[in-house]
Symmetry: D2
Subunit: 424 residues, 4 copies
């Protein structure tokens, strides 16, 4: 962790400018009838979970280029996540991936408390074969033609729930890579039936106060068909399972050009939106840093969430899910958490009364301009003030770099050499 | 109509070669355990409806280039449809579009009988303003913010049902262009609520033995959001309305790369697949001739339909929906009907027992090869024999051209000049 | 035109707030080492041309819904363009489309002077048939198989140059819809040869101080192949023609996911970038208002232009090319000009020295953050101050609405009824 | 290798049926004026190279699921390639990847001769870090900001040429993953300059009778920009380098919806088409088996090649480049070689005289139908006869399975366990 005094010292040099900027923005917002303090309070109340696996350097099928101080296991990952939350004040929970993060629950809880974090949704893994695994997932897991393979995958998910219960998690996210690479390889209909049957078995093992999230993805690792390929199939799944089942939307898992904010709106209407995996992308499931490719798209998602925030029963699990291939993962997670929070605050300052009045009379131009006015507002002073008040860093990346954290852990954590082979 | 004797004469010159080809194919299929006569019987039983509007030359927002003998109204269109069915034996019904095809029901029935056709699903039109229309659809119809505009659109749909009842139709297809062109222009959620309310009003006016088809489209004419943008929203709509509501899949209304056969499979599973609008496309909703751009994709759709053809309650409305910009529309509809029938026959000769056994053991290569073997088979002799036996033409386009039909109607039907302006 | 006093009165009510905002922004920028006055000067020097046809309500192949006061011809359009420039100070030139805008050159010049505008690139039209045209463009124009049709299209382009010379234009933009709707319909190679031959004939008629712009488009109105389908073919064309030939980039004419700013960079490197057609889009060539769908993309284009602005010989023709289907076209053009100017100013305030130093050491995170810092800055006070200083309106849309211009012209210009038919 | 007698025995059981099918097809083709023997001769003359790396099981960033008998190194790979050629008679050459396939040239030549193969283009690898490599390619190779890293990458390419010269190769294929993951991360223009400079250094080391192929790819492993992102940049590169530089088209490296056959046509026109990497795909660079997703697209590529085959100087390098994740790679390569050959033969039997006459008069319907008639023809008997006459297998997959080759090598080659980890 980083010394509190370090953060305080870093903040001290920036506080005067921040105060001036915050006051200036407050005055401008007041002129638009917006109370900056309410926005700052909203920013402070916002949190997004960190995926444990996001703290390691990611890669592609071609190669992986590790950085210095790669985490050796879940305890290192929790350390890194603790630093991210310390500096941003916006990432209070960590999402674990089993078996990657398997450890004694007591030790997990102890470590989490030490670094000031809680546990978010559990993630199962049936898209890889583990060394000692009796049945291979090469041709599928929950939807495999072989009943024993399906059972193994179901058992694994039940184990994830068990671990989750021990550490205070309240949800299981199920994402599978099952599908096919050739037209004809599988029966699209029967494969889906098998998936539903397996999911029902997992659902029946779900504690009463838990949710199960079905996550869709259009392609990859399967390249012709994927069992849960879009939100329509995800919705059918959640409907079939029951009230504890909901849909999780990963921003990068859609066909080109798809309007994601409409999916958000529809799933809320169906009472089935459970949460998000945030990231950004340009081509496929690029898993790039949130808000770096198409920031307006992220804003439009939050625009729906804010517009519909009073929907009864809406209680979303926000999580980042990215692959950091060319940056220090801690830095990317810091920036991403801030960008997500930024979109939330920007969406929060939209003049919704004006917006609705323009919509009512089909004044498309002014309705759109009203929305863009929210996006255009530079809310950085609000985010920075929220961090300062929470004891986090005004400029978290600069503070992180000055702290020397990466160099320090690189001394303890062994260097990973080579480019991880790559698969091609 | 074309003289029967003309068709017979044309067939006479081709029959010997057809017999030889049919016998040769029969022998090769027999070796694979397939009875050619069963396939021919299937081909003969297959029918796809013609859209009345498809008989006129289509265009783009840039221009329209009419051909000779453009139909002047629904009676001319029915003449043209009659010729198509006469030559193909595969297009026994016509689908009307109101108000374009409005006419005395008695006259419609008389004309239809005369040209040997029945009536398929009715199509409403609330994406254009008619000259005398009180309320404009510029900003929407069934989902408009204005209640009177919605009422007008509902009334129009009820009138379509009324006309349909008088001529023996049993279904109403609802496709609307409602949506928005700017982020913020409409409330995505409330616009959908208004759409659902309007659809419920129409549904309540639906006769007991009718179906209502909800048709989705990702974009165009709305360019930022569309109310019924994908099959997920279409499914939600059909679920909300009730058992008489089903989803219609237009092959050209999807995001790039989307696996359409999966959607077909999912909607069948949900008990909500109602039918198709067939066409082909490369970029957007290109409305090109069926089977001319990606014939394997058309085959894969029929592969699902044949695999699941015994699903209880499955009774599909097959229709063509294309825009013929550079061909004689009659010729394009003839060829398209044949291509759709071809895909159906190819899907019907797949060795499904072998396919399933390969799938069961995850022999992806042989499963895929088994499916492709169906697609690769040149079933033209089967299609031609089905036509011959039905009194249609072995080579329908050649026969049509020799008949001089287009020149004949061009004498009666006035020439359309200019390029239809274009809209840009 | 709008009374100067009206604009002044409107500005008077906003000036105090603007001064405060401008001073505040200036102070914040100064802290980052940026001189706000230099940015304001850049904003004032920036201009983008208006397409004459953009002043009328656009539509789709399904319908067109005209608004009140549609311009009756080029003189009305010039009036509308004059108002746009009056209010924004950012649209000093108009681009004409022949034959739509054909008129006596002397009258055009007189009107232009009266409304304070000059003439930008000329646009030819060989994608529509005019009523009296001997040869049809149904199957192509400059690339048609028929030599006489090609000659007709060449002559039309030469006439556009002639008109352009008379009114002080210095460039001809050639966009053709030629292509095909079916695989096999045309020889892709020979069609391109015919196009090149025709372009050479036009090029040989180009005055020495003119440019000819080749504009590519992936599809529409042709739906299988388009002769100038992408920037590669556009580049080959410009290379083949000679030094006066350059490529024009329309932001909406690309395949999904394509990185447009890379194309900009490559064409500059090849010495062949001639200019832009600005608009925005989500799905296809949606022709939506600039900066309303993906504002960051527009910024990234300008980022390249600013980074490479000192490239010898770079002299770009900036033009808007949009279709306004649900707004008052004047308002959309006002907002779009401002959004384009905004992107230019945001790109201008990027700290390029810091950016380069981060790039040099592959500090991807800070390089990206440095670029985003420019985009995130709300430069509205700079744009508004540039307008104020140029005698234009601080809030141009509000001022336009208050002026009653639309109602006034609607009294003179006849109402257009019906929805323009639509083509489907 | 497989015993000749085994192949002969397998063929013996199929020969009578093949003779009958071949005679039947010959008669049908003769009726269309096509000499089947000429097609068979063309089929026999056709060859496509095998990528050495294609003989191992591929994977994704999520996982890799190896099969039995994975090749241990280049000698095993050459054995596998030998079997593929033995059974298909259509894959006479192997393409090596350095450093993966590094070995004593003399040993490579000896092994190649033993298995009846030659060597195709060499492939360099600067998208991965090798264990002992001084400079990392994490941030680029030929276009890296660091001169020493660029030198290292240039040296590696020169070494590939050196190895290639020793084994009789005549071409170097350069594909790099260089690009960026964030807007702003790199200067798009300067990165390209550095790439061109590096390529010039390699070009200057190219023997006189060699070619260098520039291969473009829209994205992956870089997810925001890629230096050689499309054929336009590839063409600029080849033009800048000189006459020995050509462009290589990988079927899976394009934006969605792009018309690849147009690119083929354009590059031939520019005198810069060098060859292909064949595969198939649905979503991204899926690297699926050739001809299994969109067989008509493959046919359309060959349609261009056959139409333009008499272009002076056209001499193409055909290669497969696929990732085999769920099949036995040997089987996938066998089937793919046959599918590519199939497309070539189908394109060869198109009635080009009729096609041209229809095109000349813009008979789009019959031109398209003429092309489809080639695609629809089931040329399997021609392919099988070509194989039989070349001493290969009538049914290569069946013969391969019966041979027990995989089981045999699996005894010698150690089992690979786990799922290769995956990278995520």
């Amino acid at each position: 962790m980083i010394e509190e005094s370090m953060i305080e010292a870093a903040n001290a040099t920036l506080e005067a400018d921040l105060d001036a900027d915050y006051a200036g923005l407050g005055a401008r917002l007041a002129r638009r009838g917006v109370d900056i303090e309410k926005l700052t309070a909203r920013a402070m109340s916002f949190g997004v979970a960190i995926p444990s696996w996001g703290t390691g350097t990611g890669g592609t099928r071609f190669a992986r280029f590790p950085g210095a101080g790669e985490p050796r296991g879940i305890m290192d990952k929790l350390d890194d996540c603790g630093v991210i939350h310390q500096l941003t004040g916006a990432t209070p929970r960590v999402s674990l991936h089993i078996p990657w993060d398997k450890a004694e629950p007591a030790l997990l809880l102890e470590k989490a408390e030490q670094v000031g974090l809680g546990f978010d949704a559990m993630n199962s893994n049936t898209f890889q074969d583990q060394p000692d695994q009796p049945k291979s997932y090469k041709f599928g897991s929950l939807s495999h033609t072989d009943a024993l393979t399906r059972s193994q995958a179901i058992e694994h998910n039940l184990e994830c729930i068990e671990i989750g219960e021990a550490i205070g998690s309240k949800a299981l996210t199920v994402w599978i890579g099952d599908g096919s690479n050739f037209p004809g390889q599988t029966s699209l209909s029967r494969q889906f039936e098998r998936y539903l049957d397996s999911m029902k078995a997992i659902y029946s093992g779900l504690p009463d106060d838990w949710h199960i999230f079905s996550e869709h993805k259009i392609y990859e690792p399967a390249f012709y068909s994927t069992v849960v390929q879009d939100w329509g199939t995800s919705l059918m799944t959640a409907q079939e399972l029951g009230p504890k089942a909901q849909c999780l939307v990963d921003l990068g898992h859609h066909a080109p050009n798809v309007n994601i904010e409409m999916i958000v709106s529809r799933l809320i209407r169906a009472g089935k939106l459970g949460g998000f995996h945030f990231n950004d992308s340009k081509y496929g499931d690029d898993d790039l840093d949130s808000g770096t490719i198409e920031p307006f798209r992220l804003f439009l998602v939050f625009n729906e969430l804010v517009e519909l925030e009073d929907t009864p029963g809406l209680d979303l699990a926000h999580m980042i899910d990215q692959s950091h291939n060319v940056t220090d993962p801690i830095e990317s997670l810091i920036v991403s958490a801030c960008e997500i929070q930024r979109a939330y605050v920007q969406a929060s300052l939209v003049d919704r009364e004006a917006l609705e009045s323009y919509r009512e009379v089909n004044d498309a131009l002014m309705a759109a301009a009203t929305l863009r006015a929210g996006f255009r507002t530079d809310v950085e002073p609000i985010l920075a003030m929220a961090r300062l008040r929470a004891g986090a860093a005004i400029d978290p990346v600069a503070c992180y770099r000055r702290s020397g954290y990466r160099a320090r852990v690189a001394e303890k954590r062994p260097k990973v050499t080579g480019s991880g082979g790559g698969i091609v």
